[in-house]
């Protein structure tokens, strides 16, 4: 059963990823991205990271992709890009070679790291402790990672202020 779910989710993830790279229209690419994100959420559920699966759907598929679609529509750049023309001669070949090298190195790295680190003691808190996934995550987040958690709130405020400043046409025009 798990194997079946894994392979279906993996097929969805890879199809969506290829779709993002291949799609000529940015709107299609955004919709393919949603597909990939849902596949990843299924894989999270399969690995019993239930809270992260929910957050993945709400934040990524809900907020971020909608933001992408908003910007595409706002700017009117939803014209099909001609992906058949290579702007730089040999660029695709070079990119393919680099990507394959990356794939080989990454695969070797993760497999080796998995072999080496297996059975090491838990650094923060074990997954099979008391409480559900959400309780464990919250306990660690608000004790060990409290400072980082507060720092992300500052980061989000900075991001909001930055976005407002960047998109405010009148004040930037007046200051020039």
């Amino acid at each position: 059963m798990d194997v079946l779910v894994f392979f279906i989710a993996a097929a969805i993830v890879l199809t969506g990823a290829m779709g993002v790279v291949m799609a000529r229209n940015p709107v299609h690419a955004a919709l393919m991205l949603v597909m990939t994100l849902f596949g990843i959420a299924v894989l999270f559920v399969l690995q019993e990271a239930h809270f992260l699966a929910a957050v993945q759907v709400v934040v990524y598929a809900g907020a971020i992709v909608v933001l992408f679609l908003f910007v595409i529509m706002l700017l009117g750049v939803d014209v099909a890009e001609d992906v058949t023309v290579e702007p730089l001669v040999g660029q695709r070949t070079a990119a393919l070679v680099i990507s394959m090298g990356t794939l080989g190195l990454l695969s070797a790295l993760v497999i080796r790291a998995a072999q080496l680190s297996l059975g090491m003691p838990s650094g923060t808190q074990p997954l099979d402790g008391e409480g559900g996934n959400l309780v464990q995550l919250a306990r660690v987040l608000f004790t060990d990672y409290l400072f980082a958690f507060e720092a992300t709130s500052v980061l989000l405020v900075i991001a909001v202020v930055g976005a407002v400043v960047l998109s405010n046409r009148t004040s930037s025009g007046a200051s020039q």
């Binding site: 990843i40 700017l75 660029q91 997954l127 991001a159 960047l166």
Partner: protein, 101 residues
């Protein structure tokens, strides 16, 4: 037959590679952003897999922070993109080669 841990890791590596290839090849800045999201998701998948393999909740906490940072990154990145594309309406990063506005 059970799902082997290395399958997840290989899927993450493959997803990261596809995202990196797209980032190198595509010319539309919005699609390039989406490729960055693909790479971030590949890393998230790897983190969750290692979290389960090593029986450690820390990996899932890191994924939580990655989600927050990705949201902030998209907001600021798209804000910059909107202000650039307002002046030069073209969906091609090659046209934005000069720093001078």
């Amino acid at each position: 037959m059970n799902v082997d841990d290395s399958w997840y890791l290989l899927l993450g590596a493959l997803l990261f590679t596809i995202g990196a290839y797209g980032l190198l090849v595509r010319r539309n800045p919005l699609v390039m952003f989406m490729c960055i999201e693909l790479m971030l998701n590949a890393v998230n998948l790897t983190f969750v897999t290692f979290s389960r393999m090593l029986n450690d909740i820390g990996g899932q906490v890191v994924v939580f922070f990655v989600l927050v940072v990705a949201a902030a990154e998209v907001v600021v990145g798209l804000g910059i993109l909107v202000s650039i594309l307002r002046r030069r309406p073209s969906a091609n990063v090659d046209d934005i080669s000069a720093l001078k506005g």
